[in-house]
């Protein structure tokens, strides 16, 4: 751990200078995003025929595939942020204060990508307005799809409000060090600010954190998202109350992995080793291990109950699942990451930030693969198989695969822009590290 003392110059540095790497990464991400927009424009012109969705006869006839799997994956990553930040406020986990805002921003970036996938998946984006919005007063009473839209909107809005309120403190104090060109933005963001509001705003944010920490894990990723699948009676791979906890563990695993990757990337880019310390990264790595263990445990539950003496439709699905090489890859990489996390928990010298980075990347690859498989295999193995005589298996088309590269590039661009606009490390974190702590978090680790 570095002996340097963190100061406010550290957190405004990204807005005051631009290194060569920034232009290189920005350029590369822009090119990849443009390539994706080019591919998407082909889909917009020719329709979903350019995907392998609903292609029965050669691709298993599934109507949901990579787009919906990636949607769930991005929503899962989005969880890390705001839950981590809410836990800092509610449970006094001050150790993670330096990554709290990064994590909140990850929620916004990742949730935007998840929403974008819905726009992509409906084929014509205007259907979002012409179908979803116009029919909302009727469909919300019965359709899990519309419940999903409702809760994701609430989650996004609560996160934005949380960020909008907490950032006032930082912007008001750091305004002289922030770029002049964005002065109108900072004026709007701090409208009506006075130091007297700090205590009240902290309490308002505390209430918001309380709402988020119940809504996001239990009602969104452990609720309406698994209900998109688990409420359908004819898909044995999707059914069952276990889907809620299973979705939640995958979400939390992906989310912590996302926060570790982001924290390590920014730590290296801005020499924040004394703020985003090894201690913070190791703590996050241990959380990653716990959630990975829960993820594997729930997979085991499903496999054992599916292959032992389950009803025929469930057994058929379970057999297809465990023999699929992609499933074996997904479970294998999560197991491998867990082995490293366990080893470094026992022997601390085995910990290294690069190994934690590798474990996080493997976990994200594993959760993405598992989620895509979950979506399309669930459809390929229904209780009554309509496509029995036209066998085939879904594999995403190049345009579908391109969307993954595109959304990762767009999320990268989001962060490259945001580091130039607002401090991505809370001023509170610097005050805490300098021993000038305040009372906005209660209790200790």
């Amino acid at each position: 751990m570095s002996s340097r003392t963190p100061n406010t110059d550290d957190i405004v540095r990204p807005m005051q200078s631009t290194a060569k790497w920034y232009y290189v990464v920005f350029g590369a991400a822009s090119i990849l995003a443009l390539v994706w927009f080019g591919l998407w424009s082909i889909q917009l012109s020719r329709g979903l025929a350019v995907t392998n969705l609903a292609d029965w006869g050669s691709a298993g006839g599934v109507t949901w595939g990579l787009y919906i799997g990636a949607f769930i994956w991005w929503v899962g990553i989005a969880h890390g942020g705001i839950i981590l930040s809410a836990a800092v406020r509610l449970f006094g986990m001050k150790r993670y204060l330096p990554v709290a805002r990064l994590a909140e921003l990850l929620t916004i970036g990742a949730l935007s990508m998840a929403g974008f996938y819905i726009v992509i998946h409906v084929g014509r984006p205007d259907r979002i307005v012409t179908s979803v919005v116009q029919a909302y007063p009727v469909t919300v009473h019965q359709s899990p799809l519309v419940w999903d839209v409702t809760v994701i909107t609430m989650y996004m809005v609560m996160t934005l409000t949380y960020l909008g309120l907490t950032i006032r403190y930082d912007l008001a104090r750091l305004r002289d060090d922030l770029p002049n060109i964005l002065e109108p933005v900072y004026k709007v963001a701090t409208i009506g600010y006075s130091e007297a509001e700090d205590e009240v705003i902290e309490r308002i944010v505390w209430w918001l954190a309380l709402g988020v920490i119940v809504m996001a894990p239990l009602l969104l990723h452990g609720g309406v998202i698994p209900w998109l699948f688990a409420l359908l009676p004819s898909m044995p791979g999707w059914q069952g109350a276990i889907q809620g906890p299973q979705f939640l563990t995958i979400a939390l695993t992906s989310a912590i992995a996302g926060v570790i990757i982001l924290a390590l990337a920014l730590r290296r880019a801005y020499d924040w080793h004394h703020i985003l310390t090894d201690d913070v990264i190791r703590g996050l790595t241990l959380w990653l291990g716990l959630f990975s263990l829960l993820f594997l445990w729930l997979q085991l539950q499903q496999v054992i109950t599916g292959v032992y003496a389950a009803p025929l439709d469930q057994r058929s699905f379970a057999a297809a699942k465990v023999t699929n090489p992609y499933y074996q890859f997904a479970i294998g990489v999560v197991l491998l990451s867990l082995a490293y996390i366990f080893a470094q928990a026992v022997k601390a010298h085995l910990f290294s930030p690069m190994r934690s980075l590798a474990a996080s990347l493997l976990v994200l690859a594993g959760t993405l693969t598992e989620k895509i498989l979950f979506v399309f295999e669930g459809l390929e193995y229904p209780t009554f198989d309509m496509y029995y005589n036209t066998p085939g298996h879904y594999f995403p088309s190049p345009i579908e695969i391109g969307s993954l590269v595109g959304t990762i590039a767009l999320c990268t661009l989001f962060f490259l822009v945001i580091v130039k606009v607002v401090p991505v490390i809370e001023l509170h974190a610097i005050e805490e590290l300098r021993g000038e702590g305040h009372s906005h978090v209660e209790g200790d680790d």
């Binding site: 424009s41 917009l44 012109s45 308002i204 918001l208 009602l219």
Partner: protein
């Protein structure tokens, strides 16, 4: 056989969304207005943020989809 039809009284989404899932949001908003330290002006500001973001998200999406609809007109 005992049969329970949740929608005999109310459609499932009506109570799932507006009664159960809404609780964390209602709790937070009630906490802003009734909790201490209490400042109605700041609580209203927070509520404005919340509503403002909902409106801007959906209005923004509306204009985005209209624009995409013009660039890629539906096949007739």
């Amino acid at each position: 056989m005992v049969e329970f039809q949740a929608w005999n009284f109310m459609y499932p989404g009506t109570w799932v969304i507006f009664i159960i899932i809404g609780v964390p949001v209602y709790t937070a908003i009630l906490g802003w207005f009734l909790g201490k330290p209490r400042d109605m002006e700041k609580a209203l500001m927070a509520l404005t943020y919340l509503i403002g973001f909902i409106v801007s998200m959906w209005v923004g999406l509306y204009f985005l989809t209209v624009a995409i609809g013009i660039v890629f007109p539906p096949a007739m």
